[in-house]
């Protein structure tokens, strides 16, 4: 164990490591705060003048409004919110709330209800899958919101998975576990979740930079020649090198996630963690999670993807003779899922996302996108929800690449 401790200390004392860890920590704080800066709110004072609040002041003010905390999303609440919104839209002659004037406007409080309004609009979609528009949704439809949610999923599956009835059945089974009624309070939203995804991608980039030289730097400097001749210089050192890289990067990831979530959740308010993900993303979202649960699921799943990416990086490091090539190829594989998710047709991108190590780390291909989406992979008559396949593939890749890395290191002969 002493060797393990010394190996961890060695890696931590390298400038690259502590430099990247420090940057990761700063980024976690910064990116946790950034979504707050997008918030703004205008209100009319008693003297008739308009005041615009931005950033944290806007968040705090909106949190203080009684309308910001509806809690359980009841059909009656949805009807009130809808009718209030329709009044405002008719006043300004607009079709939806995003078309309302950017200057302070009458009834600005409907901004607080925008998530609920979007979901009502989504649930009441036309048979062809397009949205009706808020002015065309009736109060009765708002009152039947939860019935519409269930039929919405069935319609969506019929549209997207018509050739794969098993996918539709699986989606329905998953949706049965979703809790009704939904919960909503103003606060945590999709911006924070997007920034969590972006932060994960950046941390993965840094962790790959830390792991890439683990073996190859020793080959390059010749330090490996001496270590390899020592009693524990082969299997044991190989294992400790792998474990220390995983431990340092894994701990850094968890620490950064913890800091990010602490900053963003405390700024937006902890109550927002209870928000149903169906209110924030789609009424048909398949997971029975609130935003707090989704944050943790994204963090835990991404940790698994990170471990698979690191395992692959260590494997490359054990095979390549110099740090530059090890780092360059590892970083290419780090961004490859992002590139392929954009460049390839959907079915090929789905497959690449599952097979590539770290396939769930990125932007469009992120685990968050997949957890809130409806991608299924089909093997004959059997269908699987894509995030499960991605996670299973990552879990399988970790021991495979770690084994190959250890084998590559121990069997290295010139």
């Amino acid at each position: 164990m002493r060797l393990f401790y010394l190996e961890i200390r060695r890696v931590l004392t390298t400038r690259l490591t502590w430099g990247l860890l420090a940057v990761s920590l700063l980024l976690s704080v910064g990116m946790g705060y950034l979504p707050v800066t997008f918030e703004s709110y205008s209100y009319q004072a008693e003297d008739g003048s308009w005041t615009e609040l931005k950033g944290l002041r806007a968040v705090r003010h909106m949190q203080s409004l009684p309308q910001a905390s509806p809690g359980e999303v009841t059909p009656q609440l949805l009807r009130e919110v809808l009718e209030n919104c329709q009044d405002v839209l008719r006043t300004y002659g607009k079709e939806n709330i995003w078309a309302l004037p950017r200057e302070p406007f009458y009834g600005e409080d409907i901004i607080l209800d925008s998530s609920l309004l979007s979901r009502v609009n989504e649930a009441a979609m036309r048979p062809d899958g397009t949205a009706s528009g808020l002015l065309h949704v009736t109060g009765e439809q708002a009152e039947q919101f939860y019935d519409l949610c269930r039929t919405r999923l069935a319609k969506l599956m019929a549209l997207e998975q018509s050739a794969h009835p098993a996918a539709g059945e699986l989606a329905q089974r998953m949706y049965e576990k979703v809790r009704f009624p939904f919960f909503y309070e103003y606060g945590l939203g999709s911006d924070s979740m997007d920034y969590q995804t972006l932060l994960i991608f950046m941390i993965a980039f840094f962790c790959v930079s830390i792991a890439a030289p683990v073996f190859s730097a020793d080959y390059q400097t010749g330090a490996d020649d001496i270590q390899r001749c020592a009693k524990y210089g082969r299997i044991r050192l190989g294992i400790y090198k792998i474990l220390s890289a995983l431990l340092i990067c894994g701990t850094a990831f968890l620490l950064c996630m913890g800091v990010f979530l602490l900053v963003t959740d405390s700024l937006f308010g902890w109550k927002g963690l209870k928000n149903s993900m169906q209110v924030i993303y789609s009424v048909s979202s398949l997971l029975p999670l609130n935003l707090g649960g989704l944050q943790l699921a994204v963090a835990a799943g991404s940790l698994l993807f990170l471990l698979s990416l690191l395992s692959f990086t260590l494997f490359l490091s054990s095979r390549l003779k110099n740090t530059v090539s090890s780092l360059a190829i590892s970083l290419v594989f780090c961004v490859l899922p992002v590139i392929l998710s954009v460049a390839l047709p959907e079915s090929a991108a789905d497959l690449a996302g599952c097979l590539l190590p770290g396939g769930g780390i990125g932007i469009q291909n992120s685990l968050l996108c997949e957890l809130t989406d409806f991608h299924f992979l089909h093997f004959g008559d059997v269908s699987f929800w894509k995030p499960w396949v991605m996670l299973a593939a990552a879990a399988a890749e970790v021991p495979v690449f770690l084994g190959l890395a250890l084998h590559g290191y121990c069997r290295r002969r010139l």
Partner: protein
């Protein structure tokens, strides 16, 4: 203990770096001599187990070192020609790390490090980063790590390169003392280092062992072929072109003393000189003297 190198061959593409080498190393200091590219480093890496021979094997007390694995490495110390280290390590950190790699217990580690730091006069720099040390100090740190586990088999590739004369003397003394009952193999191109301390030597040329034995045995082929004489200083260039000059010393005035290799007296007035290992080296590797 006995280390048997048995018909070891190693090829790099079409070049045989080590060509069917057989050698039995017994306790004592062994010198491995040879010009650059003669295969010394490759042979040492094979003995260290970090390079796989294409044919043949290395046996320690009759057992292949590959089979012995950890047990062989437990009694083995190695300093490669290029001493690779972690630049962020201090001398002490590095030695502690290497001690842990060699399986030394904590108390033993402290004792061994203290002894070696003192023996190799590294005490004052023990908290300095290795990257900031001079070449000679880095070399001494390399020697220290090789000696940490008190090895029974010690392989040192060019251990004295970068050491100043005083350090070389201290190192030779340290090694002579250390080598009792152990196998120490030193490869060097600084022939006097080996001449002083090596009980036996092996000479490599083009991947083969061309001679082996004690210094006295090895120099026999050049006995009667080493000459010294005094020549006019202005004719030195001419003599250097026509003779295999081992050494020349310009004295006062217009005369110079030269030591040269020749089958017979080549300059009138030459007297036979006592052959040394360096003479043999230049006899076998004439290009080294050019």
């Amino acid at each position: 203990m006995e280390l048997q190198i048995s018909h070891v061959t190693k090829e790099f593409r079409d070049k045989k770096a080590v060509d069917d080498v057989s050698l039995t190393l017994t306790p004592g200091v062994w010198g491995l001599l040879g010009a650059n590219g003669s295969g010394k480093t490759t042979l040492m890496r094979i003995i260290a187990g970090i390079m796989e021979p294409a044919r043949g094997e290395v046996l320690c007390d009759g057992i292949p070192i590959r089979t012995l694995g950890e047990r062989y490495r437990d009694v083995f110390g190695y300093l490669p020609q290029e001493f690779g280290f972690y630049p962020e390590f201090t001398v002490k950190d590095y030695l502690e790390y290497m001690a842990a790699l060699k399986g030394l217990r904590r108390q033993e580690t402290r004792t061994r490090i203290d002894i070696l730091l003192e023996q190799l006069t590294l005490l004052e720099v023990k908290k300095k980063r290795i990257a900031r040390l001079s070449g000679g100090m880095k070399r001494r740190v390399g020697i220290a790590q090789a000696l940490l586990n008190d090895p029974q088999v010690l392989i040192l590739d060019e251990p004295t390169s970068g050491l100043d004369p005083g350090e070389r003397v201290r190192f030779r003394n340290l090694l002579s003392e250390f080598a009792r009952g152990r196998i120490v193999l030193i490869s060097t191109h600084i022939v006097p280092d080996v001449e002083y301390i090596a009980a036996r030597n092996a000479v490599m040329k083009d991947g083969r062992i061309v001679a082996q034995g004690t210094t006295q045995e090895l120099v026999k082929p050049v006995a009667g072929k080493v000459w010294s004489c005094s020549v006019p200083a202005q004719k030195l260039a001419e003599y250097e072109r026509s003779l295999r000059v081992v050494n020349l010393k310009c004295g006062e005035g217009d005369r110079a003393e030269i030591r040269y290799l020749a089958e017979a007296e080549a300059v009138a007035g030459s007297v036979p000189a006592e052959p040394r290992l360096e003479d043999l080296y230049l006899w076998l590797f004439p290009e080294a003297g050019r």
